[in-house]
């Protein structure tokens, strides 16, 4: 360990000499690694966003319980209280006709003018029921048992569809991470093998002088790390720019989409990419060193 610390400057210098030896080949490899990490970062970003959307939708999961017109104000309150007692129900609230209209006006924004064509308020009163989604089926069954309940509107189907899409995305994402990881490993191990081949005379001299294998290997390990972490950082910067552009595009048409904040998304993606690049850099370098030694 002491040998490594006192020779740190030498190792860094040697690794840059190795990088400069095959300038074009190493530059192209660096570009490939950066692009692989950029694509990986985009997959991870989409993953994080969809998980966030699911999470927010699940937290805000609610059923709308509509009742017969004959049910008066006090009975609605009593009905809401009885619904509160159902296991899995988080809270209930009676939404009157006027509030239902107001909500729709807020959602429609400028388009709300269309509501003026109705002679009277077209919206019914209902009970807003916030629920624990894990118990949604039992809650629906219990709600259907209540007399005077006319219909129940749940967003179960929408959530199920989003969950399905997320599952497919997770599968494809995992597949992509494995593929991009394997490609990076191969590229890095190839660079290391190439570096070892070009420096075989120097390596042989060091061995004959009694240098430990770790002393010989460290500059090559640093080459792998510089390439992958450098590629990872550049890919993170590109991803940051892509996220900013994406948010600027999305903020107009779908302002109520529960997206994570840009800063959090960029920070988390950068952390994952840099961590992965570090891991793949070490893995690729070790693989390159091992295969070179064996051959």
């Amino acid at each position: 360990m002491k040998t490594i610390i006192v020779n740190l400057g030498y190792f860094i210098k040697e690794s840059f000499i190795t990088l400069k030896t095959n300038r074009l080949s190493n530059f192209l490899s660096f570009v490939s690694i950066t692009l692989a990490f950029f694509l990986l970062a985009l997959v991870i970003t989409t993953w994080i966003v969809s998980l966030q959307i699911i999470d927010v939708l699940e937290q805000e999961a609610e059923f709308n319980v509509f009742f017969h017109e004959a049910v008066d104000e006090p009975s609605r309150i009593l009905m809401a209280e009885s619904i509160s007692d159902i296991s899995g129900v988080v809270s209930t609230r009676v939404v009157g006709e006027a509030e239902a209209l107001q909500r729709m006006e807020e959602i429609l924004g400028e388009e709300a003018q269309v509501l003026a064509y109705f002679d009277e308020n077209p919206f019914d009163a209902f009970i807003e029921v916030k629920v624990d989604l894990a118990q949604s089926e039992a809650i629906i069954a219990a709600l259907q048992e209540i007399p005077d309940v006319r219909s129940i509107r749940d967003n179960q189907q929408v959530l199920d569809q989003i969950r399905n899409i997320t599952r497919i995305q997770q599968f494809l994402g995992t597949l992509f991470i494995v593929a991009a990881g394997a490609a990076t490993l191969v590229v890095i191990s190839h660079i290391i093998r190439q570096g070892i081949y070009h420096n075989r005379e120097q390596i042989n001299t060091l061995r004959l002088l009694g240098a430990p294998e770790s002393f010989i290997a460290l500059p090559f390990l640093l080459v792998g790390l510089v390439m992958t972490v450098g590629g990872g950082l550049l890919a993170s910067i590109m991803t940051g720019a892509a996220i900013n552009m994406g948010y600027a595009q999305m903020s107009g048409p779908i302002p109520y989409l529960p997206l994570p904040t840009q800063v959090v998304l960029i920070r988390n993606t950068t952390f994952i990419i840099v961590f992965l690049s570090l891991l793949l850099g070490i893995g690729g370098s070790v693989m390159g060193l091992k295969t070179s030694k064996e051959s």
């Binding site: 020779n7 005379e201 001299t205 004959l208 002088l209 009694g210 240098a211």
Partner: protein, 224 residues
Amino acid sequence: MITAENLKLQYTDGTEALKGIDFQINKGELVYITGPSGSGKTSLIKLIMGEEKPTSGQLKVLEHTMKTENPQGIRDLRQKIGPVFQELKLINGRTSLENVMLGMRFLSIPRNQWKIKATEALDKVRLGHKILAKAENLSWGERQRVAIARAITRKPRLILADEPTGNLDVENAVNILNILNSLRDEETTVIITTHATHLIDETAATQLMHIENGLIHLNGGSHS
């Protein structure tokens, strides 16, 4: 320090490089191993350096039994040796100073001593004015001297010089041999292989070993 008993080396292609040689080299000796090209001199150096393992017989170098020594043991042994290789093995693109310092980086020599020792050694071989010259820009004789400087800074117990006079004119060859002869002291053994027998100062040598066709034909010298 080095003992060989019925030492044989046969390469995988069947070539018998050494056919059963016996010798003993003690601490503080200056030994010349002579013989024509292909006689087995470099093979013997390779065995001493642990580059090859004996096919049969015994070879002990600085308490290391070469036939059974593991890689770590070979590394430990090599750290006690100051080699001057036939092909010199300097690193191109690095200065004389960097090449000399490279030999010390993984030994137990304190970091603050590397540059001082390297500069002193280069001064000793009369290359103090070329410490910042790149290895590839030096003449063969100068490169030879950098290799010697690299060997001596390691404070080795054994200096092994394989054909250090090859590719040199007589004046430079004599200079190199004089430098190597001067490195021998009570603690340091020097072994030099050469085919240029006319350049050897026989009075300085403690042993003269003549190898021909894989066998020692003459083993003499002023102290043996």
